[in-house]
Structures are given as structure tokens and as C-alpha cells.
């Protein structure tokens, strides 16, 4: 039965609603949410293996066959992302157990994490453009709440901007949907792709695609990232890790989906534009990452660099580059979550946010220091870790198509990533220790174990590329051949 397809979205929704009624039982809330993520991960693994044998799966809601009804479509790309989301969220939840505190946990924290995940998974799985909008909104509404939980001044003033910018970008999304519906008269992604291919993507459609590009650029932080560093610095550490790992990635997913499935006929316009934007993002993010001394800002700018890097793969658009983008997307979800968790832990144990006010942490917390070292190498793309394969493949794609400027920008940005993190490492972990034995905040197991799990994740992903290669290959193959997706959805085998 294909009904299992809707589970990654519906289970978190149900769990979230149930948890509202279980407000006093925090222990129960914790483990229910954790269990939901584990179950989701299991479902994703099951789906992923079924897709390899049976091809792309779909579920028509209410039996309305496409293109008339709304449907969920699971291809390797979306299910890989669902799987990564579930694992990363489960680990972030483990961190949240011992870090967010009773006051926040009592304010429906776990319900909203569940709703957030429902929105994220829904966005990955949906096969309908308007449904994508709805899932985006579910995710954003949950994120509006999560970002303000705690109610500190900085949180509130940053979240006002975050909400307004997202409301405006959602409006642009609606406008784009209205234009597209007015032009081609359908909203089913496969049907849209077919109709756009029939009309040969007229200039009008290309303009509409640019409107979509604007929306997803705002959501993903592609050049329009001015809201991101502020918004990602204020929430509780576990929430910031979830945001850093998931929210921009949903924008990236939507962008890759739209520009490989729908608007792939005029790459000289759209993909060139994406390339330029990605290049500028890499430059801006790199400058930001080395400009600040506040660790939260540095980490947030690292998110922006990764966005630019992944979209370089989309701009190049060859099989190898897209594979690279997918690998890097998975890698980045894991490692960015880890980076945010580490930064948050450093802030908690020192009580400082500036790197020049921290020193000698490696003597007090050796494991934290070594995990940070692993993250640094992984983000820079040093071989045994997971960042390597994505960088190699995107680089390979760039050389194949002769996009040397993008290649140079992408790899120079890696240097900046390395430098910005090395700066944190040298300033905060080396040098004289400033924390005396008496004031030392004991490292909780609940902080260090999630970090260890995630760093284990980056090592496993790096060494186990062989194991996931067939899935990524299939995902990139579907992206490169939109006809596969269309045939699967519209029943034309």
C-alpha cells in the first residue's frame, strides 16, 4: 500500500496535536517526539528501498487521479531528505532534552517541533505546487513560534523581522502560483512540467520562473539572506540547530525541484541567474563568516556559504553536479546541526558569545574540542568526512561544463569556511584556560552525546558513500530526466 507515503507528515501532525493535551507530562512528550522521528526514519528507509525496486511512488488523496487531485510523490531525492531530516531532528531533540529548560518545554515546545517537521516532510513529499505552499506555511508558522519561545528582547525583535520577511515572501509565492495557474491552468507538478514543455517555456513562463526564484531565494537565503544571521542567532540552541539544518534546505529543495522539473528549458536565463546569485552568496557569506567575532554570527554565515555551494551544483546542472548537490545537502544538514549545537554548547559553558572572550576550552572540555575539529575538517571537505564527495562531484561538474568562475568561487569559499572555523578553534579552544576548576560548568551527557552522534554521522556518511551511492544516483537521475517523474505521476508507463 502506498498509504505509508503520507506517514512522515501525518504522524508528526497527530503527535503534535496529542502533545498539546499532554502538556504536564514533559517526559512523555520528549520520548513521544523522539519516537516519532525514529519511526519516520524507519518509514523513510523502507520507502527508499521500495523506490529502488518499484520506481517513483505516489499517493492520490481521496482517490482523485492526477492531475485533478492533490498527491504525494516519493522519489529518491525527497525520501533521502525526509530520512536525513528525521535523523537530524531526533538528535537535536536529544540535545533539547537537557538544554532548553522546563519553562520552554512547558510552552508546547515539542508540539511545535512536530509541526515543523510535518511541514518540512510535507514540502519534500508533495507533488502539487499549492500544496507545497501550504506545507511551507505549516513549517513557517511553527518556526515563528519556536523562534520566539523564551521571549527575550532580542528574540522578539529579531522574530518580528523574520515573520514579516517570510510573510512577504509567501505573498510572492502566492502571486507566482496565481500567474502560473493563469498561464498554464494546472498546479500538479508533473502536469505543469508537461504543459510547460509543450509550450516550450515561453518568455512569459521564464519571467514567472524568476518570480519563483525570488521566493525560494528568500526562503533559502540565496543572496537575499539579510534576515538569516539575525534570526538564526536568537533562538534556543536546539531550535537554532533545527533551523540551520532544515529550513534553508527546504527552500533549496524547492528550488532544485522547480528548476529541474518545470523550468529547465531556458538554462541560459534561469540557470545562469542562479549561478550568479550563488556566486554572490558565496562571496557575501565568506565575508560575513570572517567579519564577526560573535560565534553565532559566524555559524549563521556558514549556513549561507553552504546554500551558495549547493546551488552552484544546480546552476551547473549536469548529472555529476546534481549528485554533488544532493550529497552536499545531506552532509550539510548533519554538519550544520552539529555546528549549531557545538556553538550553543560553547556559549552555555563559557557564558560568552564572542570568540575573543573564550579561551583554552580544549583543556576543560577535550571531547568538545575534538568534535569541533572534526566539524571543521568535514565542512572544509577533508576526505574521510562527508563534505568531500559533494565538493569533488560539484567540482567535476563545473570542470565538465567549463564554469571556472563558479568552480573558483566554490572552492575559495571552502577556504573561508576553514579559516572562519579555524579562527574559532584557535581563539576559543587553544590558549590559556579562563575557566577555573571551581567555576567549570560540568559537561552534561545530554549535550555531548548528540554532538558525538552527529559527528559519527559525518564520518559514517563519509566512509559509507558506497552504500548510499545507488540512492543518490537514482535521485540525480530522476532530476536529470523529468520524464521519469511525469510518467510515474501521470500513469504513462
Amino acid at each position: 500500500m502506498n498509504n505509508v507515503l503520507v506517514m512522515p507528515m501525518i504522524i508528526p501532525v497527530i503527535a503534535g496535536i496529542l502533545l498539546i493535551f499532554l502538556r504536564p507530562y514533559i517526559k512523555l512528550q520528549r520520548w513521544v517526539s523522539f519516537l516519532v522521528m525514529i519511526v519516520n526514519a524507519g518509514i523513510a528507509v523502507y520507502l527508499l528501498n521500495r523506490i529502488q525496486t518499484e520506481g517513483i511512488l505516489r499517493l492520490d488523496f481521496g482517490g482523485w487521479e492526477p492531475p485533478y487531485g492533490i498527491l504525494f510523490v516519493a522519489d529518491s531525492f525527497s525520501v533521502i531528505l525526509v530520512l536525513t531530516t528525521s535523523i537530524v531532528t531526533a538528535i537535536c531533540l536529544l540535545y533539547a532534552f537537557s538544554s532548553v529548560g522546563k519553562a520552554i518545554e512547558n510552552m508546547y515546545f515539542y508540539s511545535f517541533v512536530n509541526f515543523l517537521i510535518a511541514g518540512v516532510n510535507g514540502s519534500f513529499l508533495t507533488g502539487d505546487l499549492f500544496n507545497l505552499y501550504v506545507c511551507f506555511e505549516i513549517m513557517l508558522l511553527a518556526s515563528y513560534v519556536l523562534i520566539t519561545l523564551g521571549g527575550r528582547k532580542a528574540q522578539l525583535s529579531e522574530s518580528v523581522k523574520y515573520v514579516v520577511i517570510n510573510v512577504v515572501s509567501s505573498w510572492v509565492f502566492l502571486i507566482a502560483i496565481a500567474y502560473l495557474y493563469g498561464t498554464v491552468g494546472t498546479l500538479n507538478l508533473a502536469h505543469l512540467s508537461e504543459r510547460i514543455a509543450e509550450s516550450g517555456q515561453t518568455p512569459l513562463l521564464t519571467v514567472i520562473s524568476i518570480v519563483f526564484l525570488t521566493v525560494f531565494a528568500l526562503k533559502a537565503g540565496l543572496l537575499l539572506y539579510f534576515w538569516l544571521p539575525g534570526a538564526y542567532s536568537v533562538p534556543a540552541t536546539a531550535v537554532a540547530a533545527l533551523f540551520g539544518a532544515l529550513l534553508t534546505k527546504v527552500g533549496i529543495y524547492a528550488m532544485i525541484r522547480i528548476f529541474t522539473l518545470l523550468f529547465y528549458h531556458e538554462p541560459s536565463v534561469t540557470h545562469t541567474l542562479i549561478g550568479i546569485l550563488a556566486g554572490l552568496t558565496l562571496i557575501g557569506g565568506s565575508i560575513g563568516a570572517i567579519a564577526y567575532k560573535d560565534i553565532r554570527q559566524i555559524v549563521a554565515y556558514n549556513v549561507i556559504i553552504a546554500v551558495g555551494f549547493i546551488l552552484v551544483g544546480l546552476a551547473i546542472g549536469t548529472q555529476a553536479a546534481l549528485e554533488g548537490s544532493i550529497y552536499y545537502l545531506i552532509h550539510d544538514m548533519i554538519v550544520k546541526a552539529l555546528l549549531f549545537l557545538l556553538a550553543g554548547t560553547m556559549i552555555v559553558v563559557t557564558g560568552e558569545t564572542r570568540i575573543d572572550h573564550m579561551s583554552g576550552l580544549i583543556r576543560n572540555y577535550p571531547s568538545l574540542g575534538w568534535i569541533f575539529f572534526i566539524v571543521m575538517l568535514s565542512l572544509a571537505g577533508i576526505p574521510p568526512f562527508s563534505g568531500f564527495i559533494g565538493k569533488v562531484l560539484i567540482g567535476q561538474g563545473a570542470i565538465e561544463t567549463g564554469s571556472y568562475i563558479l568552480l573558483a568561487l566554490a572552492f575559495i569559499s571552502s577556504m573561508f569556511v576553514l579559516y572562519s572555523l579555524l579562527r574559532i578553534f584557535l581563539n576559543s579552544f587553544w590558549g590559556e584556560t579562563i575557566i577555573s576548576k571551581e567555576d567549570k560548568v560540568p559537561m552534561k551527557k545530554g549535550w555531548i552525546i548528540p554532538c558525538m552522534l552527529l559527528s559519527g554521522g559525518t564520518i559514517v556518511l563519509g566512509l559509507g558513500v558506497e552504500a548510499i551511492a545507488p540512492y543518490v544516483l537514482d535521485a540525480a537521475n530522476t532530476l536529470m530526466n523529468p520524464q521519469l517523474y511525469i510518467d510515474a505521476v501521470l500513469n504513462r508507463n
Binding site: 513560534v145 522574530s159 515573520v163 510573510v167 505573498w171 502566492l174
Partner: protein
């Protein structure tokens, strides 16, 4: 009719832009609400004609049906914008309580070095 509605949507966008660019937080939120109304009108007009055909029910009318999809889209979108506005209003109120101001220029970001 379509032209009229399109112009109306344009006017709403103008008003909304003016409100969003103002300094008071409550005006910004009202602006976003009006913005969403403009989008709804646009969806309705883009849906291929207002006031043509009859209700989209099988066996009723004389063969020309109004496209029901844009209305379904708008309905969903209205609910969403309602929810977002509610959240934004609560947020604005909390911000006012906490910071004692609803002027956006006094809510500037974190202090940089």
C-alpha cells in the same frame, strides 16, 4: 470586470506597501493582511474569468462552468493568512510588552562590535 479587479488588486498592493514601509509595527501587520487580500483577488482573476458560466456542479447549468480551483486555493490561503496575522499580532503585543515600543527603528538588531 477582470481589469477592474486587477486594478483593485494593484491599489491594495500600493496601500499594503505603504503600510509595510511605515515605522509602526501594527501598521506593518495590517499591511501584510492587505497584501494577502491583493494576492487572493489576483488568484481569482487569474483563474480564467469572473462571472462566466454557472456553478460547477454536474447536471446543473448549461455546460459552461466556473473554474472552482481558484476559489479552493483562496479559501485555503485566507485561512493561512488569518493564522499568520493572528500569530503576528500576538508577537507584536509581546514585543510591545517586553521592549515598551512598537516602533521598528527602535527594534534594531543585535549590537555588532
Amino acid at each position: 470586470m477582470e481589469t477592474l479587479i486587477t486594478i483593485l488588486a494593484g491599489v491594495l498592493v500600493t496601500v499594503a506597501t505603504y503600510l509595510i514601509l511605515s515605522r509602526s509595527l501594527i501598521r506593518v501587520i495590517l499591511g501584510t493582511a492587505i497584501l494577502s487580500h491583493a494576492a487572493h483577488l489576483l488568484i481569482m482573476t487569474m483563474g480564467g474569468g469572473l462571472k462566466i458560466g454557472s456553478v460547477p456542479i454536474l447536471g446543473e447549468g448549461n455546460g459552461t462552468f466556473v473554474d472552482a480551483l481558484p476559489q479552493a486555493l483562496i479559501l485555503t490561503s485566507i485561512v493561512i493568512s488569518f493564522a499568520v496575522t493572528a500569530v503576528a499580532l500576538v508577537l507584536a503585543y509581546r514585543t510591545y510588552q517586553e521592549t515598551g515600543t512598537d516602533k521598528l527603528d527602535e527594534l534594531r538588531g543585535m549590537k555588532h562590535e
